[in-house]
């Protein structure tokens, strides 16, 4: 039952292949029906039979000449009748084929097999229509000039004719009848072959990444498809241009914000160096920490814009251990401000395929987070090793950690732990996760030894290191 339903769904589902096949089948059926209609209308081949007047005159002559020898007459007429009807092969259904009746006076001297005895024309010139036992016949009646011999040639008219024609003209109709049910297979096959360029275009479109707005590579030479591919490419170009404009606008805006933020910082810090009362100091600290947050947010927005924009840049071989050493050295200034120690443990050299900028933002965001949530004089431990054919980077802090229920959600942009007391943008982990994903890696959060957050990043290794 399920199988049937699935079959039906495949058939009922509108596809171009199905549509083309339906059109073909309908056209063939219409043509076939037309042929049958013409046969029915013209009375089929029987008309040629009914018009063979010379033959009928020959029959009359024979009947007259052999009137004295009834047996011989009967035999001879049978032979001529069979010869006349030879091409109208109706096998045993004689009442469907053309038929011949010969009278001499009121005596029926000959009748074809299956011919009803009462079938006798009135003798009008040309063809006439005779009804007998509910069957309509076209009939021609000839009267001898020399004697009282009368001949009626008749053929049943209507749908029965079709069968006669099919039977007699089988060599002509048979291929059509046989081919009709078999037509779908070659039709389906040929349409599939004809549609191959179409599928190729569809595959290329399906294989694209969400940020891939480059024009389609495959441009088929076929006019219909080429026009479509051209319009798709034109659309892609427009979309990518508008995306570029939007991104560069956000990047410019973020960029332009940096100078005033720097100015605010420098002025506030210079003011901090002056003699201030405790209230002023507190207010200045508020300004500075807001300035820090704004600066960090602007930096992260730029990172996000860039990670969206550089999704297609080539990946190169990178020594992750050296990169970590550089980044941690650069971040050690931030750490030492709060008296936090950074530690790096590299078990062995690790090489990954990646984009430097993106991996830097991954490392920076994880380590900055760890520093931010560390208690004063805490330790942030970073380790790098190879495990199960992947690069394994871990960042451990001694902060409050993240409740297991929230560990998935903290990767959402702008999501922040409601219990959190530290200021933050809620973008750091989202950026790190997006960077890891663009490298075919992943980030998992867990519990560090002795409390705190453990972030585990897995990245694919270079070829040859796996």
């Amino acid at each position: 039952m399920n199988f049937l339903r699935r079959c039906w769904r495949v058939i009922a589902e509108p596809t171009l292949v199905r549509r083309l096949m339906m059109v073909q089948v309908v056209l063939v059926l219409v043509m076939w029906g037309g042929v049958i209609a013409i046969i029915v209308h013209n009375g089929g081949d029987s008309s040629t039979y009914l018009n063979s007047a010379k033959s009928f005159e020959a029959v009359i002559s024979v009947a007259e000449n052999l009137a004295s020898q009834p047996v011989l007459q009967q035999q001879t007429l049978r032979i001529i009748d069979d010869a006349l009807r030879e091409e109208f092969d109706v096998s045993d259904l004689h009442e469907l084929g053309p038929m011949l009746l010969v009278w001499q006076g009121e005596r029926l001297v000959y009748q074809s097999k299956g011919a009803p005895t009462g079938l006798r024309g009135k003798g009008a010139a040309g063809l006439e229509t005779v009804y007998l036992e509910g069957v309509r016949y076209r009939a021609r009646t000839l009267r001898s000039h020399r004697s009282d011999t009368l001949l009626t040639a008749a053929a049943p008219v209507g749908w029965v004719n079709v069968f006669v024609t099919i039977n007699s003209r089988g060599y002509f109709l048979l291929p059509l009848v046989i081919s009709l049910p078999l037509l779908p297979l070659p039709a389906w096959w040929s349409i599939r072959i004809a549609m191959r360029p179409w599928r190729k275009v569809a595959q290329e479109v399906a294989a694209r990444g969400p940020h891939d707005l480059t024009p389609l590579q495959f441009r088929p030479p076929h006019r219909e498809l080429a026009a479509m591919v051209d319009s798709v490419n034109a659309l892609l170009l427009r979309v990518s241009q508008s995306a570029l404009r939007e991104r560069s606008f956000i990047a410019d805006a973020a960029h332009e914000l940096r100078t005033p933020l720097a100015a605010m910082r420098v002025n506030a810090e210079a003011l901090q160096g002056q003699d201030n009362g405790p209230v002023q100091r507190e207010l200045l600290n508020g300004i500075l920490s807001s300035g820090n947050r704004a600066g960090r947010l602007v930096g992260q927005l730029l990172q996000l814009m860039r990670s969206d924009a550089t999704g297609n840049e080539p990946h190169v071989r990178l020594a992750l251990d050296a990169l970590l050493q550089d980044r941690l050295a650069a971040l050690s200034g931030l750490a030492s401000r709060d008296g936090i120690e950074l530690e790096l443990a590299v078990a062995e050299p690790v090489c990954v395929m990646g984009q430097r900028e993106s991996l830097v933002s991954l490392v920076d965001n994880l380590v900055e987070n760890a520093i931010k949530y560390s208690p004063p004089h805490g330790v942030v431990r970073v380790s790098l090793s190879r495990a199960a054919g992947r690069a394994l980077l871990t960042v451990e802090d001694q902060g409050p950690g993240i409740a297991p229920a929230l560990r998935e959600r903290v990767f959402d942009r702008f999501f922040r732990d409601p219990q959190q007391t530290k200021s933050g943008s809620g973008l750091g982990l989202a950026i790190a996760a997006s960077a890891a994903a663009s490298h075919g890696g992943s980030i998992e959060l867990g519990d560090a030894q002795g409390g705190g957050l453990l972030a585990q990043v897995q990245l694919p290794l270079c070829w040859g290191q796996v």
Binding site: L261, A262, A263, V266, G299, Q325, L328
Partner: protein, 230 residues
Amino acid sequence: MKILLIEDDLDLGNGVRIALSEQGMDVVWVRTLDDASRSLAHDGCDLVLLDLGLPDGDGLTLLAQLRRNPVQGDSGGLPVLILSARDTLDDRLAGLDRGADDYLVKPFVLAELLSRVRALARRSYGFDGESIEVRGLVLHAPTRRVSVGGRAVELTASEYALLKMLMMRTDRVLTRRVLEEQTLPGSQTNASNTLDVHMANLRRKIGEGYIRTVRGIGYVIDQQARGGAA
């Protein structure tokens, strides 16, 4: 010390000028490349703070010009610190490749700016034959002599090179890789162990409390002593 500050933003330029003046530095602040060239040609300076996006052009062109045709009194080593909002790796490399000595991304922390300005000044004075001094540890570049609290210390060439690098960039962690590459060329095999051995010897000679290890990352000499640091 005379500092030429090239920054077109009024608030930022004024803030930096005041902050640096507070530290006893002599700051000349200009807002265009034209004024900067004129000031460099007439008055010269000891250090340049350079913004990149200026109203009459890109700061990098001034930098290239400065490196091609050193102004009067500059032997080609005039320290240039770029202050820019452009933060990509490519931007930084472009700045450093054109001959900048350092690159600081806006918004920066004032303490970091001061630290880097001091480090640059020290580096350039070091080349000029001045001494570098950190909490009683003195390195005299021309004579390659090192003393701790007035007591002379004998160092090997490698130990001296390591100490000089760290002292010229106080407060900044130098990675093990950089130290290995810069001071121990040729020792490809077991460079890591060699570095550890040299550092241990150096520490034994100058005493504890100067060189701080950042485990797995590198070494740093802090300008101010750090409580509880190894």
